[in-house]
């Protein structure tokens, strides 16, 4: 176990380091700087701003300065929001995006696993085709289409649910969570169906059937654990994707999460904010992948941690 963590950590370090370095130089090579504006800012002002944010130093110097701050846990000030630090902004946005991602993944799991199981129990019947074609639609339907569609139906026509906000009025978290979760529900449904079908053909299931166990007992007690292995492997990257990809849903529903900050930072050339969010998200992705590997082993005793690498 400890060996697994250590070796994963050793693998992750260079990955993160490469991400930091590549992002640092890539964003600085993009045309346009943080202080370009449509009403042109005088040269004197630009020079002073560059000085204030250490942009007048040679680029390798800026890089080493940034790293030395980073090691001390300092992401620096935001270039755009002049009285905010990057740490403060991430602190404001991350918990909200995280909460949204948790709700979305819960919805995805509940809908996805139920639909996948139903389909796998009676493959190639209507009980299989209907949920699976719904799943296919879900995978194909982007959230920038589904979101406004749900808003139109439940927010504007039926007036059941608020169309914007996060914790501002009751029920405003429902539509965003469904919008974000539905694509993943669809993936999970397909993965569950595949995993279950494979397991249901195994000898030990046949043995269980022969012993006269009820279908529900067979599915929930024996098949599900093995059948869910592909879903679990998918969960790590899925949660990471939810966190990094929540931008569209946050924009549609006016949610003050990290996704909006991240995309705005790129448009604004807010260098420190782009760096901060990129580093954070890449660490999360590495961590979540590790977690889903651990879960996979727990679900499938035939795997061992040391064999995983």
């Amino acid at each position: 176990m400890i060996r697994f963590f250590l070796s994963r950590l050793l693998q992750a370090m260079p990955v993160i380091f490469i991400v930091i370095t590549a992002t640092f130089f890539l964003i600085r090579s993009a045309p346009g700087g943080p202080f370009d504006a449509d009403k042109v800012v005088s040269q004197e002002v630009i020079e002073r701003l560059n000085e204030r944010y250490n942009l007048d130093a040679p680029i390798h110097q800026q890089y080493f300065d940034y790293l030395s701050h980073l090691i001390r846990g300092d992401f620096g000030p935001s270039f755009r929001y002049t009285n905010r630090s990057v740490t403060e902004m991430i602190g404001a946005g991350l918990p909200i995006t995280f909460e949204l991602a948790i709700y979305a993944i819960m919805i995805a799991l509940i809908i996805g696993i139920s639909a996948g199981m139903l389909a796998a129990v009676r493959p190639n019947t209507a009980q299989d085709y209907i949920p699976m074609s719904l799943a296919m639609t879900g995978i194909c339907m982007p959230s920038f289409l589904l979101g406004p569609l749900l808003v139109l139906v439940f927010g504007i026509w039926l007036q059941w649910l608020p169309v914007s906000g996060w914790g501002y009025s009751p029920g405003d978290k429902i539509l965003p969570a469904i919008t974000l979760g539905s694509t993943y529900a669809a993936y999970i449904a397909r993965l569950t169906r595949g995993g279950m079908l494979e397991v249901l053909n195994q000898d030990y299931i046949r043995t269980a059937k022969a012993k006269g166990l009820s279908t529900s007992k067979i599915i929930f007690k024996h098949a599900l654990r093995g059948g869910l292995a592909p879903v679990v492997a998918f969960l790590g990257p899925a949660i990471a994707g939810l966190l990094a990809g929540s931008f569209v849903v946050e924009t549609i529903f006016q949610i003050p999460g990290l996704g909006r900050f991240y995309v705005q930072a790129a448009f604004n050339r807010d260098y420190t904010m782009i760096m901060g969010t990129t580093i954070l998200l890449s660490c999360l992705i590495v961590f979540l992948n590790m977690l889903s590997d651990l879960l996979a082993v727990w679900l499938n005793p035939r795997l061992t941690l040391d064999a995983k690498h």
């Binding site: 004197e44 009980q127 039926l158």
Partner: protein, 544 residues
């Protein structure tokens, strides 16, 4: 089957929660006088001396007040912190008397020294205020801001006593009072700034809720990043009896579509934008919820006159005269925009350009192009038209590309750029034709025409004309308004004859606005002093 079990379960959950939905913001707002406003992007900061944008302006004008404010309908200067003023005969010396009861939100009196202190802050080189040029009409202010003058006592602003402020100008500047209504010239509370850092230090924590001390009709109550900024009525404001609103909530909303949905479901009283495709439907179905008003801004194309073939004035004029502006405003922008053939919007504080050298005239355009050596477009190189990513800009560019193809038989390549890339290319003159817009800072033709002086920071066309430069300079020292406007007309004629730019239309402000919202007067600066704004139920049952 999942849709047999899951869907009903899901729907009943939705129904349960749905039943809980209380009254919308709009429905409960009138009794409490709480205004909900869409406000574009998250403000960079709330420091009047360091910010530049419209969303920032909207919030700062609730929290602070200048020497002067403007009448919401006519934009005429009105007493604010200054209760009266005297202008010397040569128009270069202003003496302001500050009202006795003007207070900071902590109860301290607002003094003339606060203004001197604040202007020194705003002009200090280290603060790097992007709007410092707003005060360059004040004697020696530019020299101080550029670090050539170290002694601020030589700058033309003095406190004679705690309630008398004297300002000396370089030139008589007829629009000077309008500048004093702009937030960059407002005073800040010195002890508050110093409690959180140095006078000339930007980005300190003084603008946070609980810290910020202002002198406007409202005080900062809470600031949730990228979500909501809430301001509450300020009991220490000198004119608090006029103020009828108890709170204003500003929502930073990036997407016009989201904003429209929030308006439609009763979250907002007014939006900061309107999706192009929704304008017609509101005009037909909900005409009382959409307001279209003239706005002090021009949508235009820049031409890079330093490269062939746009270095030839005949080519530039041919391009300008072959654009059917009416078709663009009728079929694309659809928001009542006015086709523009001159740069300064009509009736900019009584000023009208009188140029008629540019008009929609295909025959003349073809003749000009042929005189320039490209009969029927033959031999005309393919040129690039650059615009920043936006559906509206794209549609206009496509239409103009087609108009030029049909009228002049020339080919234009469209190039769509990310905002910052677009800005850096324009500044480097790395373009042929580029979409642009200019919104006036104050209601005077000068804010438009002084852009195109030689090497002016916002010129960005490479165009230079010494006669034009002289005209703009002579307008600056002319005190008589009629003569001054005559000089501007001459300058504008010259500009249009040379056509380094192609004006396309004069902006309008197209907003969704709830009928409850009263005291919100349309004006060309889109300024709405909140002290006059209030909510009142109208007979129309609105909200949904």
């Amino acid at each position: 089957m999942p849709n047999k079990i899951l869907l009903p379960v899901l729907l009943s959950i939705l129904l349960l929660v749905g039943c809980d939905l209380g009254p919308s913001n709009i429905e409960s707002a009138t009794a409490k006088q709480i205004l909900h406003l869409g406000n574009g992007t998250e403000p960079k900061d709330l420091d009047p001396h360091t910010v530049t944008g419209v969303p920032e302006h909207n919030i700062i004008s609730a929290l602070f007040e200048g020497l002067i404010s403007v009448d919401p309908a006519t934009l005429a200067p009105q007493p604010a912190v200054a209760e009266s003023w005297v202008i010397s005969n040569d128009g270069k010396r202003y003496t302001f008397t500050l009202r006795d009861n003007s207070n900071w939100s902590n109860g301290d009196p607002v003094t003339a020294d606060d203004f001197v202190w604040s202007w020194q802050r705003m002009l200090s080189p280290a603060l790097a205020s992007e709007y410092a040029y707003q005060l360059f009409t004040v004697k020696n202010a530019q020299a101080f801001n550029h670090g050539e003058l170290k002694d601020f006592s030589q700058v033309g602003v003095k406190a004679i006593n705690s309630k008398t402020l004297v300002i000396e100008l370089e030139n008589p500047t007829p629009y000077f009072l309008s500048l004093l209504a702009h937030y960059s010239t407002f005073a800040v509370h010195p002890p508050t700034i110093l409690a959180f850092g140095e006078r000339d230090q930007a980005g300190t924590l003084w603008t946070r809720p609980g810290n910020l001390v202002g002198n406007g009709p409202f005080t900062l109550d809470s600031w949730r990043l990228n979500y909501i900024i809430r301001v509450k009525k300020n009991p220490h404001y000198w004119d608090h009896e006029t103020v009828r609103l108890n709170e204003i909530l500003f929502y930073p909303i990036d997407s016009a579509l989201t904003e429209e949905r929030m308006f439609r479901t009763g979250v907002l009283h007014a939006t900061s934008s309107t999706p192009l495709d929704k304008i017609a439907s509101y005009q037909t179905n909900d005409p009382d919820k959409i307001s279209i008003d003239p706005y002090l801004g021009t949508y235009y194309y820049r031409l890079n006159v330093t490269e062939k073939p746009l270095d030839d004035v005949r080519v530039r004029r041919a391009l300008s005269m072959s654009i059917d502006r009416q078709a663009i405003t009728d079929s694309i922008t659809k928001g009542g925009q006015i086709p523009a053939f001159t740069f300064t919007p009509p009736n900019t504080q009584g000023y009208f350009a009188n140029n008629n050298s540019i008009r929609y005239d295909l025959a003349l355009a073809q003749q000009l192009l042929s005189e320039a050596g490209f009969p029927n477009g033959e031999g005309f190189p393919e040129i690039e038209l650059t615009y920043n990513t936006s559906d509206g800009h794209r549609r206009i560019a496509v239409a103009i590309q087609q108009m030029w193809k049909l009228a002049l038989n020339i080919n234009v390549r469209l190039s769509n750029q990310d905002w910052k890339v677009y800005l850096s290319r324009i500044q480097a003159l790395d373009y042929s034709i580029a979409r642009a817009a200019w919104i006036g800072d104050y209601p005077d033709p000068n804010t438009f025409l002084d852009m195109f002086v030689t090497d002016g920071g916002n010129n960005q066309t490479g165009w230079s004309n010494s006669q034009y430069d002289e005209l703009i300079a002579s307008a600056a020292s002319e005190a008589d308004e009629k003569k001054r406007y005559k000089i501007f007309q001459q300058a504008e004629n010259l500009l249009m004859d040379e056509s380094p730019i192609i004006p396309i239309y004069t902006y309008t402000r197209v907003l969704l606005k709830h009928p409850q919202l009263k005291g919100w007067e349309p004006n060309i600066l889109d300024i709405h002093p909140y002290k006059y704004v209030y909510l009142e139920d109208s007979t129309i049952n609105g909200g949904q």
